[in-house]
């Protein structure tokens, strides 16, 4: 459907409502509906009751969405499209929806926690100037009642972002994809700036993320425009048809593709478009970092896989080499720069850049195996990284989270359980067997070798060896160093955070020892919607 036909439609009279498969899109509608209700809660409920309402509403929305998703999954047979071809409902999209819903549920639990940081990790009065006397007063006990409660806008913002992510992974044309991108990004920008502690750092991160995100969106949009010029349509399948015909301007195609890729890579924090990642991961409140690191990665790579596989498979000869270079750059930047990081959140940020490189290796394997391997990797990585940030939020001193690596020295002597769990998660990130990280790397690299990318896999293996160093350094630090005398303490988490971390650890273990549960789901027959 191009512009001229659109004009014709308008000229002819009222627009006919497209057929909507409500059962399929119910999860998305529920999440967005919950978000809107959350806004109303903010407007109409007294302040002290809002946290309870919002938590219940958010968990209920995600839970109901999960239920609707599960019910639809049982009925699902053939890949199809709905909303006038705007959304694809196929197995990759459904797998990613399921992953996103589960990850978001755990992330909301982390966000809702009020035991680790009394009052919650989020700012009490965003309008109060950071670092001022009033700001300080909000964080200590005013009149012995404990710190002021957190702002609860974070919950509807999370739901909006989640809805955007779900649409992003299922978008069947570039315009829908762009709108979803904005829907998921804008709440994230805000969420990054809401930290209760170190507010200036948090606000700086939010501004940086917003500016660079807007810059990247511009790239995406320009690429979209050029591709529309090339194919005369924004639909992925139409672009694919146009590339096979080969009678149009390749300049438009490849410049458009390049710009589009830059926009997507930015969201997925693939190097060299990663520059925002360390600053934002460090500055954002840790629960938000967890949500961002897990869910944004899933959504962005879901879209990348869809774009590569559906729209540009036929022209892969020309562009795959360039993407190889991007994957290598990302792995190298993440692994090498991670070596000298002294802040644990920044270190995990560089780790996520390296993992983005590994994921890109899988996404470049334009086969069914490559597709399923990448999806499995996303599932595994999402849960591991969520639990990692959950643990990071527990290690605290008087100034909030103790994120400097030197403060983690000898942690195993103070709290062995935390140290062991964190070690397990780091081993998963490093890709050691019996963890999901190993299986993920294994399937991704296998698929890449089968698709003729053996040299890239060799580089990826070398880079994962380099990256293993900085994971293991933390392990050594925790177990074999003497604890600092005024070191941080590990807060005993409340139910919410405990559940979230346990979920992440269990999934990491389960996918490591019995990966068939997920591999079967992403197994053969993982076709995209026509």
């Amino acid at each position: 459907m191009n512009v001229s036909t659109l004009t014709t439609v308008f000229a002819q009279g009222p627009v006919e409502a497209p057929a909507i498969d409500f059962a399929a899109v119910a999860p998305i509608l529920i999440v967005f509906g919950g978000a809107c209700l959350g806004v109303l809660v903010e407007a109409f409920f007294p302040r002290h009751t809002r946290w309870t309402w919002q938590v219940v509403l958010a968990l209920l929305s995600i839970g109901t969405a999960g239920l609707a998703f599960g019910l639809y999954l049982r009925e699902f047979t053939n890949p199809t499209t709905t909303l006038a071809d705007r959304l694809a409902v196929d197995r990759p999209a459904l797998f990613l929806w399921g992953t996103l819903i589960a990850l978001a549920l755990a992330a909301v639990l982390l966000i809702a926690d009020r035991t680790i940081e009394p009052g919650g990790s989020f700012v009490a009065q965003a309008a109060v100037r950071a670092g001022s006397v009033q700001d300080h007063a909000l964080n200590i006990a005013p009149g012995g009642t404990g710190p002021a409660g957190m702002r609860t806008e974070i919950f509807p913002l999370t739901l909006f972002a989640l809805g955007g992510m779900m649409v992003f992974t299922a978008a069947n044309d570039l315009l829908t994809m762009f709108i979803a991108l904005e829907v998921l990004s804008l709440p994230l920008y805000l969420m990054c700036g809401l930290a209760r502690r170190r507010r200036l750092l948090s606000q700086e991160a939010a501004v940086k993320y917003f500016l660079l995100g807007a810059f990247a969106s511009a790239f995406f949009l320009y690429g979209l425009a050029l591709l529309y010029g090339y194919a005369g349509s924004v639909k992925l399948t139409d672009i694919a048809t146009a590339t096979t015909a080969g009678d149009r301007s390749d300049t438009l195609l490849f410049v458009g593709l390049g710009l589009l890729v830059v926009g997507l890579m930015f969201k997925a924090s693939v190097g060299p478009f990663h520059a925002w990642t360390p600053d934002v991961y460090q500055g954002a409140p840790t629960p938000v970092t967890a949500f961002m690191a897990a869910c944004t990665k899933v959504a962005a790579f879901g879209a990348i896989v869809r774009v590569f596989h559906v729209a540009f498979q036929a022209s892969s000869w020309e562009w795959r080499g360039v993407l190889w270079a991007i994957a290598i750059a990302s792995m190298a930047i993440g692994a090498v720069l991670g070596l000298t990081q002294t802040d644990i959140k920044r270190m995990i940020a560089y780790s996520s850049i390296a993992h983005a490189g590994f994921l890109l290796v899988g996404a470049l394997a334009l086969t069914e195996e490559g597709r399923s391997a990448t999806l499995f990797y996303l599932l595994a990585y999402g849960f591991t990284t969520l639990a990692v940030f959950g643990i990071i939020s527990l290690v605290r001193d008087a100034d909030g989270e103790a994120t400097h690596l030197s403060q983690w020295a000898g942690l195993a002597k103070r709290s062995p359980v935390t140290a062991w769990v964190f070690t397990f998660l780091l081993l998963a990130l490093a890709g050691i067997p019996l963890t999901s990280g190993f299986i993920g790397k294994f399937v991704v690299f296998t698929a890449a070798v089968q698709d003729g990318m053996a040299p890239l896999v060799v580089i990826a293996l070398l880079m994962s060896a380099v990256a293993a160093f900085f994971y293991l350094r933390v392990v050594v630090l925790m177990f074999f160093s003497d604890p600092a005398p005024d070191g941080p303490t590990v807060t005993v988490p409340g139910v919410f955070t405990t559940v979230a971390i346990t979920l992440g650890v269990l999934v990491t273990l389960l996918l490591g020892v019995y990966p068939a549960v997920a591999l079967d789901w992403v197994g053969p027959g993982l076709a995209f919607a026509p």
């Binding site: 940086k208 810059f215 390749d250 410049v255 060299p272 478009f273 925002w276 360039v322 090498v336 070596l339």
Partner: protein
């Protein structure tokens, strides 16, 4: 001669074994009982200290009782029905490798069951007294039980893989028990030495099993033996040599004998049970068990005979030079197992004779060791025979039992050793051509030397001047020799009875050799150049001569308490273990050290250099690159722009260049 044997092959093989019935269906209990004891004692910890030793004895006694019942019930069957198999479960079901776990109940395994559990039970009981003051007595019994379980698995398994399992199990138990007093550096070193030298042999056995699997695709006895003809002659030689290597490692045969004397650092009951009576004879069992393979290759048997002959002389010669009670006995063990290996190397002429000597040796050598333990028990653990002397009047029971075992070992007519050793010497002389003279002569000479060193030991310990009267223990106390408690002497008496009567009982009417026929084939009579009576006469003469020389050397003259250092070359060589350790040191250890040093050098300079270089490179580039992360949004945006330009330019170049 050899081809004839090969042609008769099937005659030696029992028909496919019958399934086990009746009480034999529960034969797994034999292994399970001591294994249960070991598990309880090891896992139960200190709570079982009070009654642990009793449980340890009870499990082995129960196993002995069961084994005896099994033996008696099996004796009722005819010859063909004496081989039975009990299939338990599929152990290793991996694609082409199918190992069924089962037990083979045949005459060969049953006599071993009786030996291991019978002698084992006696030594368990003896240990109650011997280890009474040791704080870790419970652990000792746990390890002994573990050993018995592993040894029974070794002899009862119905495939080479289950044999190997037991083989490694007894190796582990042996290691743990040699190092039982691991706070003594000598014990720890000896255990390590035993473990390492056994590994060399184990590799041989493992490779032999691999060859079987590669050629036949199975490791079950029944199938391997039935299809042994499918091996090529080169494979047969390789197999027999590799199995011999395994046997040499476990049984302390040349060139892997050096660990066995050192193993005497373990408690004396261990020396008696593991390093004299049972485990070290596993090599003999292995070769006898693999008789259908050895029957097919004369070269393989020749190698076995040669190793046996060399070892029996070597052990006997070194045994003459030592002053340590237990070490002399240890070299005597090496030498006597040499006889057994020589016997099984004779093929159908000697398999059963080797087993017979093994059984009689089990009695008298265990008796000798327990007697030695009893002497040391009463003499503040003094093992240097130059400091003993004249003990017969203080320890009459020990003296009497030890004396009977001694007579049995040197082959005094009518006692056990006479029947079994004499038969081997005769059979060795029966070999055709030069072999008969060489191997028969070696065996004959060995008998004479045996008489010498054993008489020397006897005289220096029990007779002569009471040298210990003027001496003090290391911590300055006087010696007060006394007889051991009943719990120690009763097993010694029982073993002495075996030393006296077992040989006659086995040999009378070819009772044992006939009984073993379903497993080992019928014993063939060899007819050598010398009549049997002449050989017997020669043997007795040489034995008497050896004893006489011993009396002339140490009986008639006073024995110096300090070891004389100005001695002849042969004595010096014997004292240095005939330079076996020196040879090991030079050939194996030193080259190994050099190799290790060279590799360490390569590792430090080459590998580490490379690794550290890469690490430095990565670390350096990391700290340089991280400066690019300035924190300014403008430079981030610039890097994105630069990246985008590069990407698009590259895409253009790829498309249009």
């Amino acid at each position: 001669m050899t081809s004839g044997i090969a042609a008769q092959g099937p005659y030696f093989l029992a028909a496919s074994p019958l399934p086990a019935e009746g009480i034999a269906q529960h034969a797994w209990l034999l292994i399970a009982l001591p294994a249960f004891g070991a598990a309880v004692l090891l896992l139960g910890g200190r709570r079982t200290n009070a009654w642990g030793h009793l449980l340890g004895c009870a499990t082995v006694l129960a196993a002995f009782g069961y084994g005896l019942a099994l033996f008696l019930s099996a004796g009722a069957f005819g010859e063909a029905a004496r081989v039975r198999e009990l299939s338990l479960f599929s152990w290793i079901p991996v694609n082409a490798l199918q190992v069924d776990f089962g037990l083979r109940l045949d005459p060969l395994s049953l006599v071993f069951v009786l030996l291991v559990t019978g002698v084992g039970a006696l030594i368990h009981i003896y240990s109650i007294g011997y280890m009474a003051h040791d704080p870790n007595r419970r652990k000792f019994f746990a390890y002994l039980n573990l050993f018995v379980a592993a040894m029974l698995l070794l002899v009862l398994g119905n495939s080479f893989v289950s044999l190997y399992f037991g083989w490694e199990g007894v190796g582990l138990a042996s290691y743990l028990l040699i190092a039982f007093w691991h706070h003594r550096p000598a014990a720890a070193t000896a255990a390590k030495k035993a473990f390492l030298m056994n590994r060399v042999g184990d590799v041989g056995l493992a490779l032999a099993i691999f060859i079987m699997f590669a050629q036949l695709g199975t490791t079950q006895y029944t199938e391997v033996f039935a299809r042994a003809g499918e091996f090529s002659s080169a494979q047969l030689v390789a197999l027999t040599l590799l199995i011999l290597l395994g046997a040499a490692g476990k049984s302390g045969q040349f060139p892997l004998q050096a660990w066995l004397p050192d193993a005497m650092e373990g408690p004396t009951p261990v020396s008696a049970l593991i390093h004299a009576a049972t485990m070290v004879t596993a090599g003999v069992y292995l070769i006898a068990r693999a008789n259908p393979i050895y029957n097919l290759t004369a070269d393989g048997r020749l190698a076995v005979m040669a190793i046996g002959a060399i070892t029996l002389l070597l052990g006997a010669i070194i045994g003459c030079a030592y002053d340590d009670f237990k070490k002399v006995l240890a070299y005597s063990t090496v030498s006597q197992i040499g006889y057994m290996i020589l016997a099984v190397g004779l093929g159908p002429f000697g398999y059963a004779l080797g087993i017979m000597h093994l059984l009689t040796h089990g009695f008298f050598k265990a008796g000798l060791f327990l007697g030695a333990g009893s002497v040391m028990h009463g003499m503040n653990d003094e093992g240097n025979i130059r400091r003993l002397g004249g003990l017969w009047r203080y320890m009459p029971i020990t003296f009497a039992t030890w004396g009977l075992a001694y007579l049995a070992l040197i082959g005094f007519p009518g006692l056990s050793g006479f029947f079994s050793k004499d038969a081997i010497i005769e059979a060795a002389f029966g070999q055709a051509g030069w072999r008969g003279w060489v191997f028969g002569g070696a065996a004959l000479l060995g008998a004479g030397i045996t008489a010498f060193y054993m008489t020397r030991l006897m005289l220096m310990v029990f007779f002569g001047k009471e040298r210990w009267r003027e001496l003090r223990t290391e911590d300055g106390r006087e010696y007060h020799p006394h007889e051991s408690p009943l719990v120690m002497t009763v097993p010694m008496i029982l073993l002495a009875l075996g030393s006296v009567g077992a040989g006659f009982f086995f040999a009378q009417g070819h009772r044992l050799t006939g009984y073993l026929a379903p497993s080992l084939g019928g014993l063939q009579e060899a007819h050598g150049p010398l009549p049997a009576l002449a050989i017997t006469g020669l043997t007795i003469t040489l034995v008497a001569l050896g004893a006489l020389v011993a009396w002339l050397v140490v009986g008639r003259r006073p024995v110096p308490v300090e070891r004389p250092e100005r001695v002849s070359l042969p004595v010096r060589a014997a004292r240095a273990d005939l330079y076996a350790n020196a040879v090991n040191e030079t050939l194996v250890a030193r080259t190994g050290t050099w190799l290790a040093r060279a590799l360490v050098f390569l590792d430090n300079r080459g590998v580490d250099g490379l690794v550290n270089g890469i690490a430095a490179l990565l670390g350096g580039s990391s700290s340089r690159l991280r400066r690019l992360q300035t924190g300014f949004v403008r430079s981030y945006a610039l890097s994105m722009l630069g990246g985008s330009v590069l990407v698009i330019a590259a895409l253009m170049v790829v498309r249009f260049a």
